[in-house]
Amino acid sequence: MSEEKFDCIIVGAGPAGSTAAYELARQGLEVLLVEKGDKPGSKNMMGGRLYCYSLHRIIPNFWEEAPVERRVEKEELSFLTEHGAMTISLDNEVLGEAPSHSYVVLRADFDAWLAGKAEEAGAMIATGIRVDDLLWAGGKVCGIKAGEDEILSDVVIAADGVNSLLAQRAGLRGELRPEHVSVGAKSVIALPEKTIEDRFCLRGNEGAARLFVGAGTKGAPGGGFLYTNKESVSFGLVFNLGALIKAGVSVAEAVEDFKFHPAIRPLLEGGEVVEYSAHLVPEAGLAMKPRLFTGGMLVAGDAAGFVINTGFMVRGMDLAVTSGALAAKAVIAAKEKGDFSADTLKIYEDFLRQSHVYSDLEAYKNVPELLEEPDMYTTLPALVVDILTDLFKVKGNPPERVQKMVMRHIRQKTSFWKLAKIGWKGARSI
């Protein structure tokens, strides 16, 4: 490296940035990875579920060495009313088959590990440093500014997360719109290993992923989740920010109330909150995608809005990994040409288009519209819970015919027409 200039500076040591740094360093490029947290992962949401396929393509069988918690082999989706819950539960060992499986990870550990891989491969890592601005020369980005320090590079990859300052500074996107993001509030609740295994019917390293639709968000669009770690559970709520503002619900209050829901309380009993934090999730997918490149700069991961929120899963880390790797591939192509103009770097978008990132985002692009549907969070959970309650309850009265009972609930709570509309939206979007 000539003293002052790197091939590539990557801002943000989340999954997108660390993967890009790893790929570039492995190819022998001079890379600087800058992270504002004291350690990679220290600023990240503490727990989440990592779908393995994408990182497996870069570091085969990474789960054998990475700090992962439990392998998900149990999926549960619950519809909640104020007092009740209707849960669909799937146990299948197939869910745990590599590499199409998923692990629950604690981000502080996982992100630090991945950044460590990049460092091992030869990337220089600087933590505790916030990048404040980009440097420009001849209409192209040519480095970064952090405090008083200016550091030059051929390319900057902005992997600085949902609220990407750099994409904004480069004029690639405007301010985030409330309806394009969700706010997630998450806590890690410590429980003994044995308790977790007993409570969620898990053996050894098996893990459970649970999602909750309905009362948790007080009827606002969003959902609850609970993932089992080894000795804790990651638990929280995700709300669409636009809807949250409209509904005037307090996130902290909703999380507290949610803990006392009859379906949740026994799962958390005796647990101790060890960490709490809140974070934004981009969720408008392609609708919020910024321009992904300009001369001397690329945008990857959450900074590019690459998250899929289907209501029954949040996927961001796997897309961050792939987009980080593809950004690295584009930088390598540009380096071979010795040209870092927008014209060369636009190959990044071609790579994305050929990858699962765009096809996944395309496939789920109508989901936000379904998720905006208020009936999803009030009427539907009430319908399924009440119908099944009537089905199972023996009152000693002459029984109502099932078909009639179902009709009655539908008429009371909604209409066939409305249900059909949601059904159609659902079919169209998933």
């Binding site: 220089m124 600087a126 440093i129 952090a146 550091i151």
Partner: protein, 257 residues
């Protein structure tokens, strides 16, 4: 002039949790850091260097994971980092630590001034500095709040319980510093980058000519337990004027005010 700043790599006390059943400390999720007052020690050495010109060597002894601290110590302005790797040092007797550091300082050689923190942020034994001075045969100035170097004369202000003491001392000397002496810098990007290029060395006890029998600890750590302070759970209700005086009376009784 060569200045040595000694530091200890410790668990961040903010991350420590107390296991509710047996009051033992849960350290598995705790991060490591350079002990707080030792950061002041490094900072003071670097400030003197910046004013008067000197070489600052950051010196630490500890188990394998402490090696990761060198980059931080160098980013804080030290010119060289030396790490003495010895796993037995986990929770060691300060006498043993001092013995190892003294040997290392002799090996580095040609040194005029050694800075230590007044105590480590984990056990705060406040012993390493004074013991080190004895082993080196040097004087020691403890709890120093301000330094001023004039040639080979050090003027130091000591912060004591009942006042300040000004001392003048000829180098070489060991100085232990308080947390008030300076505000340790937060390394900038360039400082972090340059840290990677500065010389770092790892020594073993054998390199220092120390045999295992010389580091046998006289101090045995039986257990470390968290103290849980129970709340008094007193609630005062009723007429505000009366309750306030009740609260005041209760606080006086407890010796809080």
């Amino acid at each position: 002039m060569r200045i040595i700043a000694c530091y200890k790599y410790v668990l961040d006390e903010q991350d420590l949790k107390i296991n509710p059943e047996n009051k033992t400390l849960a350290t598995d999720r705790a991060a490591w850091k350079i002990s707080d007052y030792d950061r002041n020690a490094i900072e003071e050495a670097v400030r003197i260097k910046e004013q008067l010109g000197a070489t600052v060597v950051a010196l630490t002894a500890g188990p394998a994971q402490a090696k990761a601290s060198l980059k931080d110590a160098l980013a804080r302005g030290s010119d060289e980092g030396i790490f003495i790797q010895e796993d037995a040092l986990r929770g060691a007797d300060p006498a043993v630590t001092a013995r190892i550091l003294a040997r290392a300082i002799e090996k580095i050689g040609d040194c005029d001034l050694v800075f230590c923190g007044e105590g480590a942020s984990d056990d705060y034994a406040q012993q390493v500095g004074p013991r080190l001075a004895v082993l080196l045969g040097w004087p020691v100035v403890t709890y120093v709040n301000r330094t001023q170097l004039e040639g080979s004369l050090l003027k130091a202000e000591r912060k004591l319980d009942n006042g300040m003491e000004l001392v003048e001392i000829e180098l070489p000397t060991v100085v232990t510093v308080t947390g008030d002496i300076n505000v340790p810098r937060i390394p900038s990007l360039k400082q972090i980058m340059s840290a990677g290029k500065k010389p770092m060395q790892t020594w073993t006890l054998a390199d220092l000519g120390i045999t295992p029998d010389q580091i046998v600890s006289n101090l045995r750590n039986e257990s470390v337990k968290g103290a849980v302070v129970e709340r008094k759970r007193q609630i005062f209700k009723g007429d505000p004027v009366e309750t306030v005086s009740q609260v005041v009376a209760a606080l006086i009784k407890e010796g809080t005010i």
